[in-house]
């Protein structure tokens, strides 16, 4: 990596934790290195205080989660209960041609070594999988990975490899019960002309804490379409790091956070245009109610020589309550001139004129507001390309917005 | 015998190493109106851009003479001042620069080249008003940024206005449809 475009915060040596004592307390090592946890003084964590994690100790999960609040898409399925694969709930047999699943704990290749939760995952993850899609294989059925947690800290790691021309649709689902921590790392290497559609959904208990990382490297003319939806958790941070490493590679990233109560949803996006003629699209929306907080940090880097880059970045925030708060930081970092880059961010309430219009057509105010909020969120949901996920989310959103779905 | 206004002889042109004009010959005498016709991609617009000196094109052999003088080595602005006017198929927008200011700057560049004094504000205004009437262009367009937000038709009128303002002998007209225009 070109040292001049490294992240600006000083990587802290303490992140390189040596955590071996996993036998006792899963967080013992982490807590023993308490100063190693990022604080709001770290630029990347400025708006995401980790009090939720550090305030009280975490135990190893005593009871594995059993119920899954997740759709069943009917295809191949991996279910991690509190960080361990549950074979009875998973479907690993009769896989479509071209898809292989190997139970393994893959080494991190794309995730940066100096990131604190990466180091934690290194030492605490016990189970993982490698998904491989063979050259030119098009997997018709979506593959599903469900992470379910309960009382304690659990970690998992998945590696996805799409060979040249391969196509895969994937649904990663995070759920669970009670107060627990879930740390996941998913890495995807997408070969030339290959295409990955992925929907990541966080629909966990209201006390769950998540720090998840998704990293992808795209080859020539490869394509990634990613939707990241956060419906429920106390603290959920999704770090998405996309490297457009082949000419003509493109990605579409969309996100939606529907936050209420005291929850904090954080999207950290990092798109690296390393090669010429690469395209990225980002559209992230936050709907924030009660005392909730929304954070968006999007970084687009255009490397020297990556001419013909076309990048857009949009973040829109809807604040429904006086106590909600949003912090947004859309960044462009550009080192070549033959580019088309733009970004925008907005924050505000529902359009009073639109509310008035609907009321003038006979809707009561609450319904008018719900309808407009639903519409704002649905502009993300309606694009989700993994079959089955969109419908499940629509139903969930409908419940949230008082039966307004469909 | 009078000298031809424009003389193109055995012109070969390449872009990115690929030859796209293979030996064009054309002579235009003063007072003549020529129309170059051909199918899409046959090189009509390339030819006009080469005459105007577009930097993307490389003349590999042949010559273009304007009133007997080769212009191949001339910069686009020198050719423009010598009288070559290329009406753009898609006139370019220049945000933040008012049409009026642009017309005046360009006109004065032409006048300077001809050894004429620059026009005062009042003289320029009178000239533009007259020409604007002539080409029937809305006066409001004069104070907007060059071509920004203009309709297709307005852009074309604006091209004609520019040409009329510096009133030269010879023009090469490029139009997007068969409805090309010629000026006496």
């Amino acid at each position: 990596m070109d040292p001049s475009v490294r992240p600006r915060y000083a990587p802290r040596d303490a992140y390189k934790l040596e955590m071996t004592q996993t036998t006792q307390h899963p967080f013992a090592a982490l807590l023993a290195h308490a100063p190693a946890l990022p604080t709001i003084r770290d630029e990347d964590w400025r708006f995401s205080p980790l009090r939720a994690i550090t305030a009280q100790p975490w135990a190893a999960p005593k009871v594995a989660a059993t119920s899954l609040d997740a759709p069943d898409l009917g295809g191949p399925r991996l279910v991690f209960l509190s960080g361990k694969l549950d074979e009875s709930l998973s479907r690993l047999k009769a896989l479509p041609a071209g898809l292989t699943l190997v139970r393994d704990l893959p080494a991190r290749r794309l995730s940066e070594s100096d990131r604190p939760f990466g180091a934690l995952n290194d030492s605490l993850a016990r189970d993982g999988f490698v998904l491989r899609v063979a050259r030119d294989a098009r997997i018709g059925q979506p593959v599903q990975i469900v992470y379910a947690g309960s009382d304690g800290a659990s970690f998992a790691r998945v590696s996805i490899e799409l060979e040249q021309g391969a196509e895969l649709a994937l649904h990663e689902h995070f759920c669970g019960t009670g107060r627990h921590f879930l740390g996941s790392i998913t890495e995807a290497v997408i070969g030339a002309n290959a295409s990955l559609h992925i929907a990541r959904v966080i629909a966990d208990s209201s006390q769950a804490v998540h720090v998840g990382e998704f990293c992808a490297r795209l080859g020539r003319d490869a394509r990634l379409v990613l939707d990241s939806i956060a419906l429920q958790a106390e603290f959920a941070r999704s770090e998405l790091r996309i490297e457009l490493d082949g000419e003509g590679a493109s990605c579409e990233l969309r996100g939606l956070a529907l936050a209420r109560a005291n929850s904090l949803f954080d999207h950290q996006i990092h798109v690296d245009h390393a090669k010429p003629h690469t395209t990225s699209r980002q559209l992230f929306r936050n709907v924030l109610d009660d005392n909730s907080r929304g954070v968006f940090s999007g970084r687009v880097i255009v490397r020297p020589g990556a001419s013909g880059t076309d990048a857009t970045q949009q973040n829109n925030n809807l604040l429904l309550s006086d106590n909600a708060r949003v912090d947004t930081k859309p960044m462009l970092e550009i080192y070549t001139d033959e580019v088309k880059c733009s970004h925008g961010a907005t924050s505000g309430q529902l359009d009073a004129n639109a509310v008035f219009f609907l009321r003038s057509r006979g809707l009561d105010e609450a319904t008018a507001r719900h309808l407009l909020t639903f519409a704002f969120a649905n502009e993300i949901i309606e694009h989700i390309a993994v079959p089955g996920v969109q419908q499940w989310l629509s139903t969930r959103m409908g419940e949230r917005f008082h039966g307004l779905a469909e | 015998m009078t000298q031809p206004l424009l003389e193109i002889s055995n012109l070969h042109v390449a872009i990115n190493g690929t030859e796209i004009l293979h030996g064009i010959n054309l002579t235009v005498n003063a007072g003549e109106v020529h129309a170059i016709m051909g199918t899409n991609g046959s090189g009509k617009s390339t030819l006009t851009k080469v005459i105007a000196g577009h930097p993307d094109y490389v003349v590999t052999s042949g010559d273009i003479k304007l009133r007997g003088v080769s212009i191949l080595e001339q910069e686009p602005e020198d050719r423009a001042r010598a009288g070559v006017f290329l009406a753009f198929q898609y006139p370019v927008e220049v945000p933040g620069v008012s049409n009026m200011y642009f017309l005046r700057t360009a006109l004065n560049a032409h006048r300077k080249h001809r050894g004429q004094p620059e026009l005062s504000g009042a003289e320029f205004l009178a000239l533009v008003k007259e020409k604007a009437r002539l080409v029937d262009i809305d006066a409001g367009l004069l104070n907007r940024s060059v071509n920004e937000g203009f309709s297709g038709g307005e852009k074309k009128r604006n091209e004609i206005l520019q040409c009329a303002c510096w009133n030269r002998h010879w023009r090469s007209w490029m139009k997007p449809t068969a409805a090309w225009t010629s000026m006496p």
Partner: protein, 483 residues
């Protein structure tokens, strides 16, 4: 391509204000200690309270760490090798222009700044009252008498300390406290001079006020401090300009500007910054690390306009604290970096009062190996119901070795606030240049025209005559910078 060559030729345009004036200077030894702080205070014959204030700042500074979060990189500054005070000799009270060192007068004539009021009065141009700061001290403030009639105080900071201590004491450090940041704290300890201005209630200042800064001596840092107070319902427009000689070593300029806009007042503060940018290989140049901030009370308006073309590194965020209800903050900026210049600039708009409004228009132009970052913060506090912000940040890249970055921070704690930010990055298209050349403009003129169009929204905010200056300056800076 021919275009690149002419761009190259253009970039080789040299810095025009790089000469040195040979004048004896009264300097303190290099280095920083409590003794140096006392020495500076002593030289200025300051009251005890100000010395104590400086010392508190100095002691606080010792506990601080130099920030590292910024984009520009620079070699570590040895704060013990900087000369913290330098004044042209002889230093005595000047009562008329005749007593000013002729060499100094010539210096300013050369810069195109006349200190001769008569001359200026006889000219057709609008009158501008000028305070001139040469290295560490203010050498001359023009039109003082004229301004006095309107009750306006416009003088050097040192004079204000002696003649209007109650005002200085009341407002100094209220907008930028001495604990604010590493460079502002350093300034608080060692500031040597600067401008002071007070506009009384309801007065509309009859002329543009202006401060002209020049660093002359080698090895000196310039640490001036400007304090501008607009009392209720008053109105003032203020402009500062800056140049420095070409020197191989880097010079530190760490100034502080505090603006106090009381109820219903308006302050318009414009900067045309043309410090020595270093040579074409990035050697030398001024480090322009400045803290500028204004506080707006109810119904007051603060407007910053800056044209930043000089300095090896420009690092500053002229900011507005919109404390009073209905107060307004504006920031208009053109920053140009070329050769190896770096800039990390932008603004902070802190919305506290209800119905506060802010506008940010930033235009960045980067050429050669220039690198620039727009960094801005829009912060809406819970109390700021009805707050409104609009930001537009555009970057224009000339060449493929430069960089342009946009880092806005938007923090909203109020659902009733409406915030919009947009930004784009583009290059001058070859088609635009060809089109203009086809219309008879030279390539340089074509680029100039496009850049001026790009900057129009900001340049139009400058006072008339300075807008013309700024336009010329951009033209000069662009010469050879196009790729």
């Amino acid at each position: 391509m021919a275009q690149n060559e002419s761009i190259q030729a253009l970039t080789e345009q040299e810095y025009k204000h790089g000469w040195v004036t040979h004048i004896d200077a009264d300097q303190v030894p290099a280095g920083l200690s409590e003794d140096v702080v006392r020495l500076i205070s002593g030289k200025k014959n300051e009251p005890e309270w100000l010395l104590q204030w400086r010392l508190r700042a100095y002691r606080h500074w010792l506990t601080m760490k130099e920030p590292t979060w910024q984009k520009p990189h620079y070699p570590k500054i040895d704060y013990q090798s900087v000369i913290y005070y330098s004044a042209p000799k002889p230093k005595k009270e000047l009562s008329s222009l005749d007593e000013v060192d002729p060499e100094l007068l010539a210096t300013f004539e050369k810069l195109g700044i006349s200190l001769d009021e008569q001359k200026r009065l006889s000219g057709v141009a609008t009158n501008v009252a000028v305070d001139v700061v040469f290295d560490s001290v203010s050498v001359k403030t023009t039109f003082q008498e004229e301004l006095k009639k309107a009750g306006i105080i416009f003088c050097s900071f040192s004079e204000a300390v002696h003649n209007h201590p109650e005002l200085v004491k009341k407002y100094l450090g209220t907008v930028v406290p001495f604990t604010d940041n590493f460079f502002a704290t350093l300034n608080s300890a060692v500031f040597s001079d600067g401008s002071f201005c007070y506009i009384p209630k309801g007065v509309r200042c009859p002329m543009e006020l202006s401060t002209y800064f020049r660093i002359n001596s080698a090895g000196t840092g310039q640490f001036e401090r400007t304090l501008l107070i607009a009392d209720e319902g008053s109105h003032v427009s203020y402009l500062e300009g800056c140049t420095a000689p070409s020197r191989d070593e880097n010079q530190l300029h760490a100034a502080v500007v505090e603006l106090v806009a009381l109820k219903g007042s308006t302050i318009k503060y414009s900067t045309v910054q043309n410090w020595y940018p270093g040579d074409k290989d990035g050697k030398g140049g001024v480090y322009n690390f400045v803290t500028k901030r204004g506080m707006a009370e109810q119904d007051a308006k603060l407007s910053w306009t800056q044209v930043e073309t000089g300095s090896a590194i420009t690092w500053k965020y002229p900011s507005c604290i919109l404390k009073g209800d209905n107060s307004v903050g504006e920031f208009y900026s053109v920053a140009m970096t070329r050769d190896y210049q770096q800039a990390d600039t932008g603004t902070k708009m802190i919305h506290i009062g209800r119905n506060t409004k802010s506008t940010i228009i930033s235009k960045g132009i980067s050429a050669g190996h220039g690198d620039q970052t727009y960094r801005g913060q829009v912060k809406i506090l819970k109390s700021a119901t009805g707050a409104r912000n609009f930001s537009a940040c555009d970057s224009l890249l000339l060449g493929d070795k430069c960089g342009a970055h946009t880092v806005p921070y938007i923090e909203s704690n109020n659902a009733g606030a409406v915030i919009e930010h947009e930004a784009s990055t583009s290059k001058i298209s070859d088609e635009q240049i060809f089109f203009l050349r086809q219309r008879g403009l030279s390539e340089e003129d074509a680029v100039n025209l496009i850049v001026n169009g790009f900057c129009k929204d900001v340049l139009s905010e400058l006072p008339m005559e300075f807008a013309v200056e700024a336009q010329k300056l951009l033209g000069l800076k662009l010469e050879g910078a196009v790729g």
